[in-house]
């Protein structure tokens, strides 16, 4: 996963927005110039595996809550 500031730095040189603050009127002509995004050589099984399997990144959002975590007293 490359969600660090280094990989984002290149984009900060020009005015950039978030996905939620970027109306169509401000879209830049920067998307990849190609006719299709879909590569027909990728198999159905590979697509299913990519979507249905968990990895380290997705499992971060499925951390089980232990009984001990519930007893922490904040105050």
């Amino acid at each position: 996963m490359s969600s660090d500031n280094t990989s984002r730095g290149a984009m900060e040189a020009s005015p950039t927005r978030s996905l939620w603050d970027n109306p169509r009127s401000t879209w830049k002509e920067q998307l990849p110039e190609r006719e299709h995004f879909r590569d027909p050589n990728v198999t159905d099984a590979a697509l299913r595996e990519a979507v249905l399997k968990d990895d380290k990144q997705t499992l971060e959002f499925a951390t089980p809550i232990t009984a001990e975590a519930l007893t922490f007293t904040f105050g």
């Binding site: 500031n5 900060e12 996905l19 939620w20 998307l31 499925a62 951390t63 007293t73």
Partner: protein
Amino acid sequence: VLGPASLDFRKFDPSKELVGLPNCGEPGFHAGYLTSYLLDLKVTNVLEEQQYFDLDYLSEFAAFYGTSARGYSNVCRRRHFFSGDVLNRALFQAAAGGDATAIDELHKNYLGFVVIRPTPAASFGRTVLRWYEDLNPNLPRVTTPSRPYVCHVAGTTLTVDGLAWQQQDQAVSACATVALWTMLHSSAFDDSHAHAIPKIADIARYAHRSVSMGKKAFPASGLNAFQVCGAIAECGLTPDLSVGSVRVPDLAPGFSPSQFAASCAMLIRSGYPALLGGELISGQQRTLHAVTAVGFRQCAPPASTPGQADLQDGAVTTFYIHDDNIGPNARFELTSEPGAAPGSRYVLLKRAAPAERFTGSHGYDGTIGRYHAFRPTHIVAALPDPLRLPPATLQRHALKVARGLAKGTANTLGFSVSCRLVHLTAFFEAELAKLFESAPARLASVRMALAETVAPMSLYLGVIRIGIGDQPVLDILVDTTDSDRLHPAFCHIVHDKRMVALCEGLQNAGAYDFGAKIDAF
């Protein structure tokens, strides 16, 4: 018996307006922080209601102070703060008489209010202050939970946008009670017909109603995670609890920077403040504490990395936090420390004041360079009852689908991903209007297609926005009323026609059902 008292108009004196008031806990933190904050808002004048019945304090009085042998008063003072150099009795009197120019001057310069409680150990009651001016319009702060607060003084209406904060008094409220109270003020609950903002004494009672653990509600001595969730449930809302996944030697797990940033940002974008439980760290000393994250500064979106799905908000580093040890909207920076596993890191939040906007303002703020680092271990949100899909599950599904889309390009493209929980009406109206602000024909066709070609949708939508860099290419609208399996989406709105075949590829392979297709290119 109370007698009448005149309204008091005076210049703001930073050395004694708030600083002279008694505090509890770290001496000077609250008064100094609030003084510094107001100076940076360019405060000049104060209007004080010398006798003010504050409903929150009255609930505390009824629950605790009214039966104390110390004979506390039930009357507060409320101080309103103004910038500019125009506030005086004559201007206010003109506004009270309906003079439109005077009313406009008051509104333009109104910065918010602080309720001063008559309790010597914790003076600062309900406080709402305006956000200071946003100097980065391209990557603006996200402060969705903020709401308008309307004050009425002598028939004149004053309005400020913010989110309420108050100091814990250790009698009716502890830090977690105050954090919950702030959270339940959120604008996101305005459309919930059953929702009324609970008073702080009510929250303390709710927390002990089903999970008292043999403790009395008053005097307050902190709430555990069970009680925090129980209090939310007693308010008719759904608690959502997440814990960190990064192991830390001898301590509770912490959050990885990207997990923490994306989780908090998603909640705040959706209008739900994030209650953070964790530890204040001072040398070897650790104290459990709770605060509420109410805003954040957006980060640049990820550059497209071939084959990867990156979280739009995974690199957010600036959060604005209501900390009952400090004050409202305190700016913190996300830093990280190495975890137990090689290469892992966990989040540490450090107080990082913004640059001074008024020379000398920082001199009053005792937290700068002194306030402890905070290590979050728990994130709690309060969500409307019909919303069953946990926010973390939506993030997980979004990452999987985006990863599948990247795979479908033979890993030659990467996508940025962001999620929000949005009221159906808000998506139809504000969200689509913003996206298609200069394309009314397309806006109309998308709205009509959503109304006529998609099966009935849930009141709250999970919206997965997928982009390349900062440009949206696909929205997926997800049901929030079912179980947390990867159910078919209601529909997808395609912003780039090259995404059509890619989505069809995943759909035909049985990887994901995107639901009805709406063309928006």
